[in-house]
Point group: C2
Chain length 331, copies 2
């Protein structure tokens, strides 16, 4: 297992090195106010999960790593573009303990730098040397549109109290899971994997992504505060429509439901009191267990997709390790 | 000449038909709040200059019009995306006598719909059936990044009084000319034109674009109010760094320059008085004539590039007509 862990770390280091070199060279001669925020964004850090997935899939299917690096950079730059624009839309002042771009520079600069990043993702994609480049670009394009759809549904949900579990799962599939799945599949395509393998690793990514996002909902409410990076209960305070809240709304008894709705409609409240009250309703409706079961189900579905991939069993260890490390994170 | 005019109109009609069908079908099943603003934007009207340029170049080089239509739609959707985001950045409430997207819907919706449009442009590009598709996508991508750079320079210039003529010309090349040039070249590439023809029609577009933008500066100040769609002198009121103003700043005498600077720094003023005073300085510095000469020079350069294109002379008539119609517009 140690060798596998080392390989995963090596891929991550390789990616981080490439990314920081690229960030430095971006727009050497262009307008500073366009390119400096992009460099700032790309140097903010993060686990670089998506590009590592591209490199990993390329490696597992016997591809040439150089062919996958540009696709990996493309997906990371695209992901950071979505975070940048999401921060404007969510009015989020901080990102990874640093001021978000629209706070550090200006909203106009954040809009335009993000626009440039989404196009620069294509510049990197086009540098990818793969026989199936057009398939890669098409997959990326359809995925990117899905991510926009997911973000729109997420914003729509803010103003609704009647979001169903099904709608919520579709939203997180679009907003989170498809880009993880696309990353794996891009790596597979860059290595010219078979169509069925490319599809299986895509499904592995979808199910892992759903498990990952539900885990996020769970941790926000039930993580160990010492290990958790953010404040526990932030989603409850912000009335965020999470898997927990939506299930609680669906399952709450005649007596409980007005209580929950009441908390959602309060304009001023004591935060700790609200968190405790909503968590008590979660307890009564049993939504923590429902969430844990759903995470487990998606995780197991991911492992089944993994089993179906036609590569040596020992090669799959690294994907299992990656999946495990994603699910074990506390932040 | 009548036949040529009819052909140009026919291409425009064909394009408008396709675009309105596409607008109707966009996002039939996706989130309404994402796709409705896109449909609204695409139905706002406009001369559809860029996509007509794609279709025209394809036709002149003997291409299959069906191959060029998707590239034409891509460039129009991209152009409308830039207008949408520019309107947020410029805080412009109206576009073509209708509320701009961020006013009609919301700023968040305008940001996200624009993001989706820029990616949808690639969806259309990828549908283009051309042997040189990757060249077309690369050209489009590099052009799109240049357009972002142009917009950034334009915003940078708002806060500067020392913009040079050279810097200004580079800004309008990036913000306006390259997309016109790219449209022509995409059409040429879709018809598999020779590299030198593709380059010549690109240069035709660049020079026409520069002439077009300088004409815009001139009209804003000197158009016939009855024929001009907007209020005369709007650029002067807003201190917009135009070719006229930048030249006036460079050429104004020791005595005149403080007067001009003073008007630029006034926070409250009578609009007509400011327009009259700045125009008097333009008169003294002779910048109207300098602008007219520059327009003429770029227009003639465009015609020289046109001469060098290796197609029948009678086929060039339609490009000459297009160039003329662009320069004769009063709005």
């Amino acid at each position: 297992m140690n060798e596998t862990t080392d390989r995963l770390k090596a891929l991550q280091t390789q990616l981080i090195d490439h990314l920081s070199t690229e960030a430095k060279n971006i727009g050497e001669t262009g307008p500073v106010n366009l390119y400096q925020p992009i460099e700032y964004t790309l140097n903010m850090g993060g686990k670089r999960l998506r590009p590592v997935m591209v490199l990993l899939a390329n490696e597992l299917f016997g591809g040439n790593p150089e062919d996958a690096m540009n696709a990996a950079l493309a997906v990371e730059i695209f992901h950071n573009f979505t975070l940048l624009h999401d921060d404007i839309m969510d009015n989020a002042d901080m990102r990874r303990n640093k001021p978000s771009v629209h706070k550090k520079y200006s909203e106009n600069i954040a809009i335009l730098s993000g626009d440039a990043m989404s196009i620069m993702a294509y510049r990197y994609l086009l540098k990818t040397k793969a026989a199936r480049l057009n398939e890669i670009i098409s997959l990326f394009t359809e995925t990117a549109i899905e991510v926009c759809e997911g973000q729109q549904y997420d914003m729509d949900f803010e103003n609704r109290l009647d979001v169903t579990v099904e709608e919520y799962l579709e939203m997180i599939r679009l907003k989170t899971a498809v880009l993880l799945a696309c990353s794996f599949k891009m790596g597979a395509l860059s290595a010219n994997a078979s169509n069925s393998d490319a599809e299986n690793i895509y499904q592995f990514g979808i199910n892992l992504g759903l498990a990952f996002q539900l885990q996020d909902d769970l941790l926000d409410c039930y993580a160990d505060q010492d290990k958790f990076g953010k404040r526990i209960g932030g989603d409850i305070v912000a009335n965020k429509k999470t898997f927990l809240l939506i299930n609680a709304m669906e399952l709450a008894s005649e007596k409980l439901k007005p209580k929950l709705t009441d908390w959602l409609q309060q304009d001023s409240f004591d935060e700790q009191e609200k968190i405790a009250a909503v968590k008590a309703i979660y307890q009564e409706t049993g939504v923590k267990e429902i969430c844990e079961k759903a995470i487990n189900d998606y995780y197991n579905k991911a492992l089944i997709s993994l089993e179906q991939i036609g590569i040596d069993e020992n090669k799959k260890t690294i994907l299992q390790l990656l999946a495990k490390s994603i699910m074990e994170r506390e932040h």
